[in-house]
């Protein structure tokens, strides 16, 4: 404990800001994937699986074509295909969200393991110098500026893109016709139907769009965050994303703020490891923080709701 207090300035400093954002980015992508379908009232339990398939596809395609752009595009396409299993199953054949979501997660885990064996002849993980990673943006003009340079100067393209995506989704959900229809379908499907909106069509669109973002989440994880594919490399980030989506009520900005909290827990934990905290405690920290934050936010929401209702009466 003493060592931690002595070295507090090494644990909490400027570079922690980027470290937090870096750990949060894959979760933000996942949370946005879950938020899109949630707006249409489809709980996306399969986020984890969509991400995992995206991660594998990105690495495989980038390895064979030598181009990260093709890899990312393929990952997004794969994400859409996997998401459509959920979409068709749920919308057309009445499958329970949780059940088919967990089924897709297991399918993703199994099929990536299977393909890792068959395509690369590997068990557990695959990495190669021939995988073309998502490049980083070096902002030369900032590198000399003291604090800003440390924070902004070396982001991956996907990390810049996630900020654009958050803003774009916020605009899409709350300022466009499609967004209004999407939310109408989610909240008042009968009213939406009466207003002449094709409910199922909007739902399919939402699922396909979420699949794209989920695939991108995976591609970022395997080509940006790291440059390799590891079995089950998403390690429940998809579910953290779903938790963050609950925290933010499927609002892109609030949802992303929730993700930053988990990223903070992750990166502080990683630093504490150097000071004698057992690695298992460090590794479980983001999960505990996620559960705690989710519980507190839901409790607060519930009591706020109760208050609002009681003032109406």
């Amino acid at each position: 404990m003493g060592a931690i207090i002595e070295n507090l300035d090494k644990i909490i400093n400027v570079s922690l800001i980027y470290a937090t954002f870096r750990s949060a980015t894959p979760i933000i992508f996942a949370a946005l994937c879950a938020a899109i379908t949630q707006q249409a009232n489809i709980l996306n339990v399969g986020t984890e699986g969509i991400m995992l398939v995206g991660a594998f596809t990105a690495v495989a395609v980038s390895y064979f074509t030598g181009s990260w752009v093709v890899g990312v595009a393929a990952a997004m396409l794969a994400g859409v295909l996997i998401a459509m299993i959920i979409g068709i199953g749920h919308i057309k054949y009445g499958a329970d969200n949780c059940a088919i979501g967990m089924g897709v997660n297991m399918l993703a885990l199994a099929i990536t393991k299977f393909l890792l064996n068959v395509v690369f002849g590997m068990n557990g993980s695959f990495s190669s110098p021939e995988i073309d990673p998502i490049p980083r943006v070096k902002l030369e003009f900032l590198s000399e500026v003291p604090i800003l340079g440390e924070i902004f100067c070396n982001w991956s393209i996907a990390e810049w893109f996630v900020i654009i995506l958050i803003i774009a989704l916020q605009f899409l959900f709350y300022k466009t016709v499609w967004g209004l229809r999407l939310r109408a379908v989610g909240q008042f499907p009968e009213a939406a139907k009466t207003a002449g909106i094709n409910v199922n069509k909007i739902k399919y669109q939402a699922v396909a769009f979420a699949g794209m973002i989920g695939g991108l989440a995976g591609a970022h994880l395997s080509l940006g965050y790291s440059t390799q594919f590891v079995e089950n490399m998403t390690s429940n980030r998809g579910f953290m994303g779903v938790a963050a989506m609950y925290f933010g009520g499927a609002n892109p900005v609030f949802t992303s703020l929730g993700c930053l909290l988990f990223g903070f827990a992750d990166s502080v934990g990683a630093r504490l490891q150097a000071y004698g905290i057992p690695s298992q405690f460090v590794l479980m920290m983001p999960y505990i923080v996620t559960i705690a934050v989710l519980s507190v936010s839901m409790a607060v929401k519930l009591s706020a709701n109760k208050k609002r209702q009681s003032s109406l009466n």
């Binding site: 329970d96 088919i100 967990m102 089924g103 297991m106 099929i111 938790a243 405690f281 989710l294």
Partner: protein, 349 residues
């Protein structure tokens, strides 16, 4: 459930099973192997000889408990993905008691191991259940995240305070073990305990007030509250029962299969139990049979990988396809039209 719909349900499962084995066969053809050879090897790998049959039975035991545990929680409307964490913590509790409480006479120590495992599992089920019941926190999210927490807690304990000091992270051997009756396989008397427990649970669900309350809450919590059943308490109770069953599964794994706590031992046990229950729509009577079928697939996978070139990950793929098809309620409807639709669906997928 009347006879007719039970029969329809049975045929539905059978068609689903054949469909997923068929899709699995496509995968096998895709990698240039013979699907019939592979499935024969799979079957042989599960049943041929004492060792293999015993291994299948040993693998069946935890699946039986975890699948019924999932179904019980589901009967009250809970989606307990936390089976695995409950198994891990039940296992570590049993190991701790079995190693350290040697002052107890052996029969009582036995009971203490099982009771400790059940209590710890129930507590791990209580947390997400209470969060869901009182604060509406999605139990799917919390239970799955708690699985990882449980894994790291046990991993810390067996590589730190409870470590036996071996290269593999594991605990000291426990002082009481369940009799293994099909050596050299690890099939043990735990299977008898599991079967008795499952029969008790089925009896409880359909022949007692408690079971009636659980089923009422699962079907319609508002109605339950209206007729004076505390739906929150029943919901939490069923999750705790689910956790306790998983804890006992962990205890059987530790006392019966390994004889010590092995790091990571339960990985996959929870998700497969969940699969078995989901496929038969949480029908507790059908769940054990599905658990057995999955246990056979799992146990045979190794044999298939050894005698043909098909990796055992294929079996996981087949079971995942199985569950995806099974969840699509209206996919298989015993009408020519529906069947045609299903086939085009299959081609697309």
């Amino acid at each position: 459930m009347n006879n007719n719909s039970a029969k329809a349900g049975f045929i539905r499962i059978l068609v689903t099973m054949l469909l997923s084995l068929g899709i699995g066969a496509l995968f096998i053809v895709g990698i240039g192997e013979n699907p019939i050879d592979a499935y024969v090897a799979l079957f042989k790998g599960a049943f041929n000889g004492k060792l293999r049959l015993g291994t299948t039975l040993a693998g069946f035991t935890p699946l039986l408990l975890s699948s019924v545990a999932f179904a019980v929680a589901a009967k009250a409307g809970a989606f307990n993905v936390g089976l695995e964490g409950q198994i891990f913590l039940g296992g570590i509790a049993a190991a701790y008691i079995g190693i350290n409480w040697t002052f107890l006479p052996k029969p009582i120590l036995f009971v203490a191991c099982f009771a400790g495992a059940a209590v710890v599992g129930a507590i791990w089920g209580f947390i997400p259940a209470a969060l869901k019941a009182y604060y509406n926190v999605s139990e799917v999210c919390t239970t799955i995240l708690m699985n990882t927490v449980a894994l790291y807690i046990t991993s810390y304990l067996v590589s730190g305070p409870m470590s036996a000091g071996t290269a593999n992270a594991q605990s000291h051997p426990v002082t009481v073990t369940l009799h293994q009756f099909m050596k050299p396989s690890s099939a043990n008397l735990g299977i008898v305990i599991a079967i008795i427990l499952v029969l008790l649970v089925i009896f409880m669900l359909y022949k007692t007030t408690w079971g009636y309350k659980i089923r009422t809450v699962g079907t319609n919590p508002d109605h339950a509250d209206f007729v004076g059943i505390n739906s929150k308490k029943v919901f939490i109770g069923s999750m705790m029962l689910s956790g306790a069953l998983c804890g006992i599964a962990g205890c059987i794994e530790v006392l019966g299969v390994h004889g010590y706590f092995l790091n990571n031992f339960a990985t996959g046990l929870g998700s497969n139990g969940m699969l078995a229950a989901l496929i038969v729509k949480n029908n507790v009577v059908a769940t054990p049979f599905m658990a057995f079928f999955l246990a056979v697939l799992k146990a045979g996978a190794m044999g298939m990988q050894q005698s043909t070139g098909v990796p055992k990950a294929l079996v996981d793929t087949i079971t995942a396809v199985f569950i995806i098809i099974a969840t699509m309620e209206t996919l298989i409807q015993f009408k020519e039209k529906a069947k045609k639709k299903a086939e085009t669906e299959k081609k697309e997928g």
